[in-house]
């Protein structure tokens, strides 16, 4: 097929492995395409100097110039390495530790490892055993320790020459018996080590000779990885690395000149040290003992190590994290009328983002129309790609010519249209459900629209949240996104095996009101159902007055049987698609709750469930429209008796607390084991006050008027808990900080308005009144304290859990199910023989289990 299409054939290459190693001086010279000899960069005309750091043989960064090595232009030439010959060798800062151990472990005269031949085999064997589990560093440490223990450290067992103590003066000066060893000397010593001994240290002599650790030549990285930028003033500003290399070359030249001129030893030594400093900072500008090399402005240079390191470094910023085209970001807003797996895209975005569509004989005319409409008129097209890969922008003048030119094999980048595939994402992407595939629906306005039921997996709300949209550009990507990432395929959480999508907010209270309280005439019921998008009324019983349950049951599939619990702990029974007893609430309809949605998903499939959730959501909202629903301050008003009871409960608890304090003062309090008297008192008081608040909650629950909006919201689980009701109506309760009552901020008291050493409830953050009655000034302060405390908690938690997540993800990214159903990591090391001990995928299970009872019931029922 591909050959027929006449498209260019791109060779498909794959990297199979990467070998890390160390460059030998020979290799450095061989792979270099230029030798750098002068620190000058450009000549008077502004062209790169031959033999300078910006030599055109090292690649080009100016438009118009051609690389003298490969002949390619800017952006095509990958760049080439160069080298400089160092006048005197310098030590590579990252290898200092290794050089030290090698020097310590080998003879200064004959270069042999300081282990007598008799012991050698034994030690080698031991090292080989270790090498399978331990790192090279551990191995080397072991060698050093063996030598120490063999007491051969002072005398070479081979040539009997005396050894001196070698120490490292950081960062890169080696001392032998307090006398400095020059890098030349170090290099000659390392050269003496024979290949056998190199192997002994765990290196392959062909790949790594120890003397290579001392640099005699230095590779110059290609120009393309250190491009200069032209400032507005026309001035050129060079990259940090170019600056650093300039320093090295300059000092190197001076050193050469001085050596040739036969300058005194001190001057040469000084220059040599300076060269060592520059070479060191070229590799790493954050060596603890060295002052970092700086710009003229005083800001430290970013040299090689700093480029790679850290979150902003090459690895984490550019290699592991990628940027993308064909994406958009804007504010989100809700639209309950679009489907669950749709996303409303503003017109402006739809005509900026494109989908490539290949021209064939069959769609030629169709696509021509898009080009005719051009980039401005929706739905049009922005670009045309010719078979040779040339991209052409569609403009009003070019339109005709392009339409003329069009033939099969061309690609048209047309505007987004309804039904196109897109990936929608909200950060932080903690889940796989944080990136789901939606179908595009182009809408007026300037925000992304999404069905409020999918807020939960994204953890989104509409207080100004922004989300990202990505348009997959290839057929494969689209197919994969559609089959694996579509919203309905993500309904069941892989974290706990229940639905992550459910009805929210009004829909929950709406369905609660409908199924629990409503009795509605048939006409109204039909009206309601039509508004919720239901057209099949065959399940509606033929009665004049219908119960809410009967209306709701229209949505349920005929063969559904379910037994569960409502959030009020009453029975919920659904038989043959009809609610027999109970009502709908958050426990059945909400996300990550109850098994109703999970069972429907299991039995009737993902698409059906997604559709049904959307319908239930609509029905709930619609039914509230008919019934009317509001919430007001008076909703939580309590009758006089209840108020009296609450005061009684609180008074009693105050008395009890006072009694405890008395006991404490009299030293009669029975302490808990391992606790001091004060701690015991605190625990007891806290216990008592919490009990008081809870009984207030019970009283509120008992006496409040049940049919008001606020109460119904709490009861259905749509918003608020019974605790919040009690806090509004009766008593806010104890403000806790760090697991105890509010501690003393002043001397012996919490706030200056209390007496010293007051242990009473009021003085330690108990708020007696409800929110409706209002807070006293001191109470207000206490709430402010706990509020601030919880803000701090959140602020501290986010980075901590983020780091834990990053570590987990890094450690476990390669763990997968193999074809033999074992769980292995990238080493093919077995972690588990069967996933989770039974091999069951959580997102295909029902809350982590197989529904065996259900299966048995099905089989038995069949007969």
């Amino acid at each position: 097929m591909i050959e027929d299409s006449g498209l260019p054939q791109h060779p498909h290459k794959k990297v199979r492995s990467i070998i890390f190693g160390i460059l030998s001086p020979k290799m450095v010279k061989q792979m270099a395409s230029a030798k750098v000899v002068t620190p000058e960069l450009y000549d008077k005309e502004g062209y790169p100097v031959d033999g300078g750091l910006m030599d055109t043989r090292l690649g080009v960064i100016d438009p118009g110039l051609r690389c003298r090595t490969c002949g390619a232009k800017l952006k095509e030439c990958p760049g080439h390495f160069g080298y400089i010959e160092l006048a005197r060798p310098a030590i590579h800062i990252h290898f200092v530790g290794l050089i030290l151990t090698i020097l310590k472990c080998s003879c200064r005269e004959c270069g042999k490892v300081l282990i007598p031949n008799a012991q050698r085999e034994k030690v080698k064997k031991k090292i080989e055993e270790m090498s399978t589990i331990e790192s090279l560093e551990v191995r080397r440490k072991y060698i050093a320790e063996t030598i120490k223990s063999l007491k051969t450290i002072n005398k070479c067992p081979h040539c009997k020459s005396r050894q001196q103590k070698i120490t490292l003066e950081k960062p890169s000066t080696f001392l032998e018996a307090d006398k400095r060893i020059s890098p030349i000397e170090i290099r000659t010593r390392l050269e003496k080590i024979n290949d056998d001994d190199v192997e002994f240290f765990g290196f392959e002599p062909k790949k790594m000779r120890p003397e290579w650790l001392v640099l005699t030549v230095l590779t110059i990285p290609p120009v393309t990885m250190r491009p200069s930028i032209t400032l507005e003033s026309g001035e050129r500003s060079e990259d940090d690395i170019t600056h650093k290399l300039g320093d090295i070359v300059r000092i190197n030249q001076r050193l050469f000149e001085n050596i040739n001129a036969g300058a005194p030893e001190i001057i040469i030594e000084d220059l040599w040290d300076l060269l060592q400093y520059h070479v060191t900072t070229f590799f790493n500008n954050e060596v603890p003992q060295l002052p970092p090399a700086r710009h003229r402005s005083g800001q430290p240079l970013k040299t090689l190590s700093e480029r790679i390191k850290s979150k902003e470094g090459r690895i984490r910023h550019n290699l592991a994290g990628k940027r993308t085209n064909f994406s958009a970001r804007t504010v989100i807003s809700p639209d309950p009328m679009i489907s669950l797996n749709e996303v409303g895209v503003p017109m402006i975005i739809a005509s900026k983002l494109t989908v490539p569509e290949r021209v064939t004989d069959w769609n030629l005319e169709y696509l021509k129309k898009f080009i005719e409409r051009g980039p401005k008129k929706y739905p049009g097209a922005n670009y045309v790609v010719r078979p040779d890969g040339k991209k052409k922008k569609i403009t009003d003048d070019m339109k005709e010519a392009i339409i003329e030119e069009m033939q099969p094999g061309y690609m048209v980048e047309r505007h987004l249209m309804d039904g196109d595939i897109a990936i929608f994402n909200r950060q932080p992407s903690l889940h796989r459900m944080s990136m789901m595939c939606h179908k595009i629906k182009v809408l007026p306005g300037k925000t992304f629209r999404l069905n409020p039921t999918v807020c939960n997996p994204y953890n989104a709300d509409f207080d100004g949240d922004e989300m990202n949209l990505h348009i997959p550009q290839t057929e494969e990507a689209r197919a994969e996104a559609e089959t694996l990432m579509m919203v309905q395929t993500q309904l069941i959480s892989p974290g706990y095996g229940l639905s992550v999508i459910g009805c929210i907010q009004d829909a929950v209270s709406g369905n609660y009101v409908l199924t629990k309280l409503e009795k509605i005439p048939k006409e109204k019921a039909v009206d309601l159902l039509i508004n919720a998008g239901i057209e099949d009324f065959s399940k509606l019983p033929n009665k004049d007055i219908l119960s809410g349950n009967e209306v709701f049951s229209v949505l349920l599939p005929e063969s559904l049987n379910f037994v569960g619990k409502t959030s009020e702990r009453t029975e919920l029974i659904i038989k043959n698609g009809k609610i027999l007893t109970g009502h709908m609430d958050r426990n059945s309809l909400g996300e990550s709750k109850g098994l109703l949605l999970r069972q429907i998903h299991k039995k009737f499939g993902a698409a059906f469930t997604a559709d049904m959730i959307a319908k239930i959501q609509k029905l709930g909202v619609q039914s509230l429209k008919y019934a009317g629903f509001t919430t007001s301050v008076s909703d939580t008003d309590l009758p006089k008796i209840a108020q009296k009871k609450i005061q009684e409960v609180l008074d009693n608890s105050y008395l009890a607390v006072e009694e405890l304090i008395e006991q404490y003062k009299r030293d009669e309090l029975e302490t808990f084991p391992g606790k001091s008297m004060e701690e015991t008192l605190e625990i007891r008081i806290l216990e008592r006050l919490n009990k008081a608040r809870n009984s207030c909650g019970e009283i509120v629950n008992e006496y409040c008027i049940r049919e008001t909006g606020t109460i119904m919201m709490a009861r259905s689980g749509a918003r608020g808990k019974p605790l919040n009701l009690a806090q509004m109506a009766a008593c806010v309760g104890q403000q806790a900080m760090r697991g105890g009552r509010i501690g003393k901020g002043y001397r012996d008291r919490t706030l200056s308005c209390f007496k010293a050493d007051d242990f009473g409830p009021m003085a330690r953050g108990f708020i007696r009144g409800g929110f409706k009655q209002g807070l006293k000034p001191a109470e207000f302060f206490f709430m402010g304290m706990t509020g601030r405390d919880s803000l701090m908690d959140t602020a501290l938690r986010t980075p901590k859990s983020g780091y834990l997540y990053r570590r987990l993800a890094n450690a476990m990214q390669d763990v997968k199910v193999e074809y033999d159903f074992t769980i292995r990591d990238a080493n093919k090391k077995i972690i588990q023989f069967m996933y989770g001990e039974d091999g069951i995928d959580v997102s295909r299970s029902i809350a982590g289990k197989l529904d065996i009872k259900g299966i048995i019931a099905d089989v038995v029922g069949e007969k």
């Binding site: 990297v15 990467i18 295909r844 299966i855």
Partner: protein
């Protein structure tokens, strides 16, 4: 009936078979049972995780995502409001790090049959508790003239321990080196030996002797006997499995600690794995979160796969990753690249990040299968 079940023994896990057995209708015929098992098996195959499924990432996502919802509140009163326990995110981090010293070590000490019935349970518990000299002493007094420290013991407390003054004296003698220790009545007198003894030395000795170990298990600061079903269990603050196992009334087979590394040392790696799972689950439950056990099992298995408990840190699991680039992309990239270069390591690009870096398909999920096809030659 059992024959039918036997047939499915290789196909289904014992747990599932058990559940089927329990839920079978009372008068199920052979054919019905067979049908049920067939249906269960079909369901099982359907629910199994497919090859290529990146279960590791799913596990870390599930834990990581829920982790953002945990409280940072370090302390929490467990059960009857007597003991402090680290809970929430700090505890999870502590477990997954495989820390050597944990914030609140605890043990559950089970007792052998005659001791666990509740008789003298407090006394038994006190034998577990670390008793310092200060706990059985009325007064420490310094005699400046003679440079002596007088330890006036509380006879009742000593009696409670079943000790005698002489025994205490011996213990003190043992814990101090080369000191002259004498007992007279309830008083143990310690005389500093050597010349040039100043008041400071005597004072230091007094402070030192206060913490001298007298009885019980070292490191156990609190004990709490708790009733569990029909027996008594001692819950302790502070963990010292080694010494507790030496006590004759302790049931070694059931006694555990919440210190994963200690469990690994004294009870083995399998026990450590169980401890990790149990402790993580405990935290998740106390936080009211919902994470499937499989994810935690996977993390625990990964931590214990090498035979030692390894933390999820750059010194633990991540150090042993096959890929140089995967290690470098985590932390301390320079160090990893340098050692890789020295060793001439080869990165075979078998895991995820390396391939992301190179813009290649990752060998997981849909990136895993290759396609073999035999193209027809064009005529």
């Amino acid at each position: 009936m059992n024959e039918i079940f036997k047939e499915y023994e290789d196909k289904l896990t014992p747990k599932i078979l058990e559940e089927v057995k329990e839920n079978l209708p009372p008068k199920a015929s052979k054919s019905v049972v067979k049908k049920i098992l067939e249906a269960v098996y079909a369901e099982y195959l359907e629910s199994r995780a497919d090859p290529g499924e990146s279960v590791g990432l799913v596990a870390s996502e599930s834990i990581g995502e829920q982790g953002t919802q945990m409280t940072l509140n370090t302390f929490h009163l467990a059960g009857v409001a007597e003991m402090n326990v680290t809970v929430g995110l700090p505890r999870i981090i502590e477990i997954l790090d495989a820390r050597k010293t944990i914030a609140t070590p605890m043990m559950e000490v089970y007792l052998k049959s005659p001791f666990n019935k509740g008789k003298d349970i407090r006394k038994i518990a006190m034998q577990v508790k670390d008793t310092k000299l200060a706990d059985v002493t009325d007064e420490f007094s310094i005699n400046i003239r003679d440079m002596l420290v007088d330890v006036i013991l509380d006879p009742k407390k000593i009696d409670d321990l079943g000790f005698t003054v002489a025994k205490v004296q011996k213990l003190i003698e043992k814990s101090l080196k080369d000191m002259n220790v004498k007992a007279k009545g309830n008083v143990v007198t310690i005389k500093l030996s050597g010349k040039d003894v100043g008041i400071n030395d005597v004072y230091k000795l007094k402070e030192k002797i206060k913490n001298a170990h007298v009885a019980g298990v070292k490191g156990v600061t609190q004990v709490l006997p708790v009733r569990r079903k029909d027996e008594f269990v001692i819950i302790t603050a502070g963990s010292n499995l080694k010494d507790v196992f030496g006590l004759e009334f302790v049931d070694i087979t059931r006694t555990t600690s919440n210190d994963v590394l200690a469990v690994a040392t004294f009870l083995g790696i399998e026990a450590a794995r169980e401890t990790i799972i149990r402790e993580v689950l405990k935290v998740i439950e106390s936080q009211g979160l919902n994470i499937d056990k499989r994810h935690i099992i996977l993390v625990a298995d990964l931590m214990c796969a090498s035979g030692n408990v390894q933390g999820i840190t750059r010194y633990g699991i991540i150090r042993d990753k096959a890929s140089v680039l995967a290690r470098a992309s985590f932390e301390t990239p320079i160090k990893h690249l340098i050692t890789a270069a020295l060793a001439g390591e080869e990165d075979l690009l078998t895991s995820v990040v390396e391939n992301v870096m190179l813009n290649q398909a990752i060998p997981i999920g849909t990136g895993l299968p290759g396609l073999l096809s035999k193209p027809k030659k064009a005529k």
